[in-house]
């Protein structure tokens, strides 16, 4: 059974990437633009660019910062989101403040953060967490607001204690939305990782991509982008596993046979 499914799985997952790659190669060969190097050229520089030392010196530290920043954002976003989502007036008061901060472009914001958090890893993690927190926060708030009234009534009528209500009703009920936010933030985290390394950095994946771009090493830059994409796909795969575990009830409920 599994053996039979493998070719189908391969077909389904690989067709689109293959078509895109083919088109890209074609386009690159036709235009011969330095800015659009062909995937073959990128593939050629990839090992020398990333596998000789940069993996340990640049990619791993970046990923560690990413992971820490993302987890911070997760904790902060969910915690604040639960509170803000439950208290209407608080939400009305702080939402514009959130929007205020959200609308500030990182190139302006990062320097302010440097004043507060310094220029080391702390700053970079802060930048990543800052970028990641919003989708989680917003989705958590909406998740909490959108809980079915009957579910709340049930919790109230059985006099569940606040912590029990939080753990057994509010969080599970909001969790599908929280997961949407977390998924959104995954990609944003990668982007913020790059942005954070544009400032006061001397290593990192994003730092290298920016340097390659600045030095017009475009093939190398593209190889970095491809690496980012690969990390994105991998992170998503892990995310899906976690989601499958935590939202088993929800996925089961939504994917019931129709």
């Amino acid at each position: 059974m599994n053996m039979g499914k493998l070719p189908i799985w391969l077909f389904v997952t690989l067709t689109v990437p293959a078509v895109i790659l083919a088109l890209w190669t074609l386009l690159a060969e036709v235009t011969e633009s330095l800015y659009w190097p062909s995937p073959l050229a990128i593939a050629r520089v990839f090992p020398k660019t990333w596998l000789d030392g940069r993996m340990a010196e640049d990619v791993v530290p970046s990923l560690v910062r990413l992971a820490v920043g993302y987890l911070c954002a997760l904790v902060i976003g969910i915690a604040i989101g639960l509170v803000v989502g439950s208290v209407r007036r608080l939400r009305l008061a702080v939402e514009p403040v959130f929007e205020f901060f959200r609308a500030i472009p990182p190139p302006v914001l990062v320097p302010i953060m440097m004043l507060i958090a310094g220029i080391g890893d702390g700053m970079k993690i802060t930048v990543i967490a800052f970028g990641c927190v919003w989708p989680i926060l917003l989705n958590t708030v909406e998740g909490v607001r959108g809980i079915d009234g009957i579910q709340i009534d049930t919790a109230r009528s059985y006099s569940l204690r606040p912590t029990q209500r939080l753990l057994n009703v509010t969080i599970p009920s909001a969790s599908p939305k929280i997961f949407v936010g977390a998924r959104q933030s995954l990609a944003i985290g990668l982007i913020m990782m790059v942005i954070s390394e544009m400032f006061a950095a001397s290593n990192g994946l994003g730092y290298n991509i920016v340097q390659f771009q600045r030095l017009f090493q475009l093939k190398e830059m593209w190889s970095g982008i491809i690496l980012l994409g690969i990390i994105g796909v991998a992170a998503n795969a892990i995310f899906k596993l976690v989601e499958k575990r935590c939202l088993r009830w929800y996925l089961g409920m939504q994917s019931q046979e129709r």
């Binding site: 009957i150 579910q151 009534d153 109230r156 006099s159 599970p172 929800y250």
Partner: protein
């Protein structure tokens, strides 16, 4: 109104509920005024849309009345009171889809602070009582409508409340199961001394179960009539339902409901004479 023998546990005092305000306002409860004694079993019947659910929500502190109040054991109800279990009409939405049947029933017991052993015993017993022992590990959305409803009932029973409030709790189960559950409710009521408020659309059921049947008018509702059920305390599905008194009572209630559809409470002394005199 009528005399209540047992000391009142609950009194409803000129309760009124209007949904919304302005032009779109809907007056659901016109005026409700009555008391319920300790360990009474009251059935409430009334036309669809009368205001029964609204009343139960006010009573259980889930909804703030527009005016009037509900007093439970001497205290005004302002939030869900302790020791009360409610089976909501929207049973399927009241079960948490992220918990198994077992966990759903257990959750309120945790809140009550029961030990693990006690909880296990209570849940198992309740599940057996509603005939769902084999579904304890299922999720609510894997169950049929009637099974979900029975889970909601099991949750209320396992809670061992002082007051049990049920809103059309047997609407989705078959006749045989319904009869079993009716006997279960009466059994719990007699054995544990629970006070029960029971909304139903089944007239036979209301007569079979209750000590009193309150017949509500259509919205804005008031108590059109209160029917005492003078049947023996020991009831059983075959013999009790065969009693001539049973037949008389069910006819009486049936006729009242037919009337109820056309009578509503008016705050202004407008048309319906009986309604006004009743409200005044």
């Amino acid at each position: 109104m009528q005399h209540v023998e047992k000391p009142p546990i609950l009194s409803v005092e000129s309760l009124r509920k209007v949904y919304g305000s302005g032009a779109g306002a809907v007056e659901a409860i016109g005026n409700l005024d009555f008391t319920i004694g300790h360990n009474e079993l009251i059935c409430i019947v009334g036309p669809s849309g009368a205001g029964k659910t609204t009343f139960l929500r006010c009573l259980s502190g889930l909804l703030a009345p527009t005016s009037g109040q509900v007093v439970l054991e001497g205290k005004k109800v302002e939030g869900p009171p302790e020791g009360m279990a409610v089976v909501l009409q929207e049973y399927s939405r009241s079960l948490y889809p992220w918990m198994t049947v077992y966990d759903n029933i257990e959750l309120p017991l945790k809140a009550k602070g029961l030990s693990a052993g006690e909880r296990k015993a209570a849940v198992t017993e309740a599940l057996a009582a509603v005939g769902l022992s084999s579904s304890r590990k299922s999720y609510p959305w894997q169950l049929s409508g009637g099974m979900q409803q029975r889970v909601a009932i099991a949750r209320a029973i396992a809670y061992k409340p002082k007051i049990l409030v049920m809103d059309e709790p047997f609407a989705a189960v078959d006749a045989q199961t319904r009869a079993d559950l009716e006997d279960l409710v009466r059994d719990i009521w007699q054995r544990l001394g629970v006070t029960v408020l029971f909304v139903t659309h089944d007239i036979d059921e209301s007569v079979y179960l209750g000590q009193r049947v309150l017949v509500l008018s259509s919205a804005p509702t008031f108590i059109m009539e209160e029917v005492r059920i003078n049947l023996p305390d020991e009831r059983d599905q075959l013999s009790t339902r065969a009693l001539p008194e049973f037949a008389r009572l069910r006819t009486q209630v049936y006729e009242l409901i037919q009337q109820a559809k056309h009578v509503t409470y008016r705050t202004q002394p407008a048309v319906a004479g009986e309604a006004v005199s009743h409200g005044a």
